[in-house]
């Protein structure tokens, strides 16, 4: 059984009249991967996987061939006993495997794996792209096995959603929230990062760019292996704040940025719950900000209880505190973890805003936003992000954030910067 721990990084001291408490809570699980171990067949029905493959006309012969190779790589990673299905999507969605007489999902075995591989080899490119229909079919598939708690899908697309309205996609995504988790990958440069990111974000998954079709197989293998390692189906982050306090936000800040605030469900009048999906052996960092009514100097108050719950009961808890002090040496210090993640969150925001402005032709806004991004990346020593930024802008002075937009930047570089913007580097203690 998995063990969870929660630790808090914060400066609990507030100045006279201070109200806002910021804390990073690091939740770590150990022993979570043993349940879904690679070596032992998973008990039939403990988890379910659906692979959603784009077979729209734009994929072309080469794209679909690569996609079927990627699907095969993923199938090879699925542990025996896991329920699975493969769906092909264009303007509509069809179950490629299992065959209709077998039901919507079938347990993985050497036999079914072989059948599935043959089925994906028969995929052909044709038609449009309506991801809402794919997701809806995936939801219906998962709904045939309500007892299965760990449900995961991989979605591959190469293009912009069309053939259905944005509202229709949105409502399809909304209907899938809580039904399954979905990691999304876009191949090539014809898909829209923002669109796919909103799907992945709502369905507690990741989003990334696969530059060329030949790279899909390795990415699918990696994604499916990661999913298989998640032995804890559904963990819930809970945040209690005292009566009279205002919870400003709850964000996941590592391994990637995700504002959880809008996903809140109320456990009781003082406690909100945020779904975090499945866990393997890993650490995730959360940034919690609480606004308290100021108390008098010398007083102490608990600002938040942050816990992780499996089912009804919390399994680990961290306490976020507030102490009012007139000692400037205590109150002016900003916790390094809070500072670093605050900086990374701003970096992500200015990159996304900058790329969006650039796409909209607002070059002055894009220059200013990306300039700030260069400055932040330099200040925080984020060399990887600086490298990505250099592909998009000429840096005149990183310290002041003076940049010029590069001419003739490939769209892939813009998109790669955009998708990478929410990946954060872990803050060390």
């Amino acid at each position: 059984m998995a063990d969870f721990t929660a630790e808090v990084f914060q400066n609990e001291f507030l100045p006279d009249g201070g109200t806002d408490v910021h804390a990073i809570v690091r939740v770590t699980s150990t022993g979570a991967s043993t349940a879904g171990s690679m070596t032992t067949p998973t008990a039939a029905g403990s988890s379910a996987e659906v692979i959603l493959i784009d077979t729209s006309g734009s994929m072309g012969r080469r794209g679909v061939a690569a996609a079927s190779e990627a699907a095969k790589a993923a199938l090879n990673e699925i542990v025996d006993g896991t329920l699975f299905a493969v769906v092909s999507g264009n303007g509509t969605a069809q179950i490629v495997y299992p065959y209709s007489h077998q039901g919507a999902l079938v347990a993985m075995s050497s036999n079914t794996r072989g059948e599935a591989v043959r089925a994906v080899e028969g995929l052909r490119a044709n038609g449009g792209t309506a991801m809402g229909t794919w997701l809806t079919l995936a939801r219906k598939i998962f709904e045939t096995v309500p007892h299965v708690t760990k449900r995961h899908a991989i979605l591959l697309t190469d293009g912009v959603n069309e053939g259905e309205t944005p509202q229709s996609l949105q409502s399809a995504v909304a209907s899938c929230v809580g039904a399954f988790q979905c990691d999304c990958r876009g191949v090539g440069d014809q898909w829209r990062v923002e669109e796919v990111r909103s799907i992945a974000s709502a369905l507690l998954g990741t989003v990334d760019l696969i530059p060329a079709p030949e790279q899909m197989a390795a990415e699918f293998e990696r994604m499916m292996r990661a999913s298989m390692a998640r032995g804890v189906a559904n963990a819930e982050l809970r945040v209690w704040v005292p009566q009279g306090a205002e919870l400003l936000f709850v964000k996941q800040v590592s391994p990637n940025l995700e504002d959880l605030s809008s996903r809140k469900t109320q456990v009781n009048p003082l406690t909100g719950a945020y779904p975090t999906g499945a866990w393997s052996d890993e650490s995730r960092d959360y940034h919690v900000a609480v606004r308290l009514p100021a108390r008098t100097l010398g007083q102490e108050q608990l600002a938040a209880r942050v816990s992780i719950a499996l089912g009804p009961d919390p399994v680990a808890q961290a306490l976020v505190k507030a102490k009012w002090s007139n000692d400037d040496t205590l109150t002016t210090r900003i916790d390094p973890a809070v500072a670093a993640y605050t900086g990374q969150a701003e970096l992500a925001k200015v990159i996304q805003d900058g790329i969006a402005a650039k796409a909209a032709g607002q070059d002055d806004v894009a220059t200013s936003k990306l300039g700030r991004a260069v400055q932040l990346a330099a200040q925080t020593g984020n060399a990887e992000m600086t490298t990505r930024l250099k592909k998009v802008v000429e840096i005149d002075d990183a310290d002041t954030g003076t940049v010029r937009l590069k001419k003739g930047v490939s769209k892939i570089d813009d998109m790669s910067l955009d998708t990478a913007s929410t990946k954060t580097s872990r803050v060390r203690r």
Binding site: W240, V241, P242, Q243, G244, A245, L270, L297, G298, Q299, E300, Q301, L302, A303, R305, Q317, L319, S325
Partner: protein, 444 residues
């Protein structure tokens, strides 16, 4: 004839003499559980710890702090308890002995001590304290040290209060008393030095260690007044060094600014007072009769006192820039000479007070203090004509808080009726005229 020393053994001043049960075995306490957790803040403490290193709360029922030393512990109202300490208090159940000073009979286990603590939040009254904080408003329970009230006997009481400006109470108080008025009492007040780190731990350790020493009967020698006062003086000197060691032991490593505190104590036995102090916490003798001067016993070890000795006006010195700098203290970095200022007074009817500078900052002159105590005594009058000492202490704390409460405030008072007032005669000293001059020994 009454001047002659009694030949009764005086190992204990309690009315139930020890001779009656000389062979009763001393109950030995149960072994202390290893690493008791603090019931207030949850910190794990070392085995045998009697108070929490982190928050200072009592760790009950750890029993006597030191072996043997406290088997004769009388009515010890130790410095920290939530709310008032019941009167009178005896040794823990199973450890009481007729040899105890103030033996009040076998203690039954069905006391308030077995009741579950009320975990309702004191701040909002709606939530429960679940993990050191309220589950409704997030407020931690008040530090029990913020306001400590002790009434070890009807004639001895004290209040130790955080004041209005400090975020922590670094004063500590240890009181004990036998039920019979004037028979025996120990009053200890220690004030943590605010410039040093964690001095709240220092003051509590010192006060508790001193009480352990002073609760033991003093050797009487030939039974004369002089012999007893000499024994009391030695005990107080020992108490200072034990308290000093206890403070030093609160830190293991070399820290730049080790915890430290002052020391002021008075021992009363059969209407004779011996007072001792190191630092600027004070003992005052406040006789009822206006003919007899009210005065501070001993003198401060402070920069202000040095200036007064050098001719400066008291008020000017005590409000000057370094008025609160003390020249001697207890702790790891204490000066070599810790011999306390010792003073002996044979009581007339009056009030004995031990207090921290949180009070005398607002009322340094003994005459003014006497007037305040006397008017407080009128308010605190009981139907039998006596006054409640704890109520008097509370009124003086209220006074200091009304003046601003800039520092922690501790006031402990004992009512003395004067020599010869105790019904159980035969314990009077050889030479004890009511208004005899005390001898004062000031060292260093």
């Amino acid at each position: 004839m009454t001047d002659l020393p009694t030949d009764a053994p005086l190992a204990s001043p309690a009315s139930a003499g020890p001779a009656a049960y000389p062979d009763l075995p001393q109950a030995s306490g149960p072994p202390s559980p290893p690493g008791p957790s603090c019931p207030t803040c949850g910190t794990d403490n070392d085995a045998g710890a009697t108070f929490c290193e982190a928050c200072g709360a009592d760790i009950a029922p750890a029993g006597p702090a030191a072996s043997g030393a406290t088997t004769g512990a009388p009515t010890s109202g130790l410095a920290v308890g939530v709310g008032a300490v019941a009167t009178p208090q005896t040794a823990p159940t199973g450890e009481e002995s007729p040899l105890d000073v103030g033996w009040t009979g076998v203690v039954t286990a069905t006391g308030a001590g077995s009741a579950l603590p009320d975990l309702t939040c004191a701040a909002c009254g709606l939530g429960q304290i679940v993990d050191g904080y309220c589950d409704h408003c997030g407020t931690p329970p008040p530090d029990p040290r913020n306001h400590v009230v002790q009434t070890p006997a009807t004639w001895v009481g004290g209040v130790c209060d955080i004041g209005k400006r400090h975020s922590r109470n670094e004063d500590a108080m240890s009181l004990s008393a036998s039920p019979t008025p004037g028979s025996r009492a120990v009053l200890v007040v220690c004030d943590g030095v605010s410039m040093a780190t964690d001095s709240h731990i220092a003051s509590l350790a010192a006060a508790k260690a001193a009480l352990v020493v002073l609760d033991q009967p003093f050797p009487r020698g030939v039974g004369t007044h002089d012999a007893w006062t000499a024994g009391a003086g030695r005990a107080l000197t020992t108490a200072v060094s034990e308290a000093d060691a206890a403070v030093a032991a609160t830190v293991t490593a070399d820290v730049p600014n080790p915890p430290s505190c002052t020391f002021a104590a008075a021992v009363v036995e059969n209407e004779v007072i011996v007072a001792a102090n190191v630092g600027d916490s004070r003992v005052y003798w406040l006789p009822d009769s206006a003919a007899e001067p009210a005065r501070q016993l001993g003198s401060d070890d402070s920069y202000a006192q040095e200036q007064i000795d050098g001719g400066m006006d008291r008020e000017q010195a005590e409000t000057g820039p370094q008025a609160h700098s003390i020249t001697r203290w207890l702790g790891k970095d204490s000066p070599d000479d810790l011999t306390p200022h010792l003073t002996t007074v044979v009581a007339t009817p009056g009030w004995l007070m031990v207090c921290s500078d949180g009070l005398w900052n607002y009322c340094s002159e003994a005459d003014e203090l006497r007037a305040r105590v006397q008017s407080a005594a009128t308010v605190a009058a009981r139907p039998d004509g006596t006054s409640d000492p704890t109520e008097i202490a509370q009124q003086l704390v209220d006074f200091a808080n009304a003046q601003g409460g800039r520092d922690n405030i501790t006031v402990a008072v004992a009512r003395l009726a004067g020599q010869g007032s105790i019904a159980t005669s035969g314990v009077a000293f050889a030479t004890a005229p009511a208004a005899s001059e005390e001898e004062e020994t000031t060292h260093g």
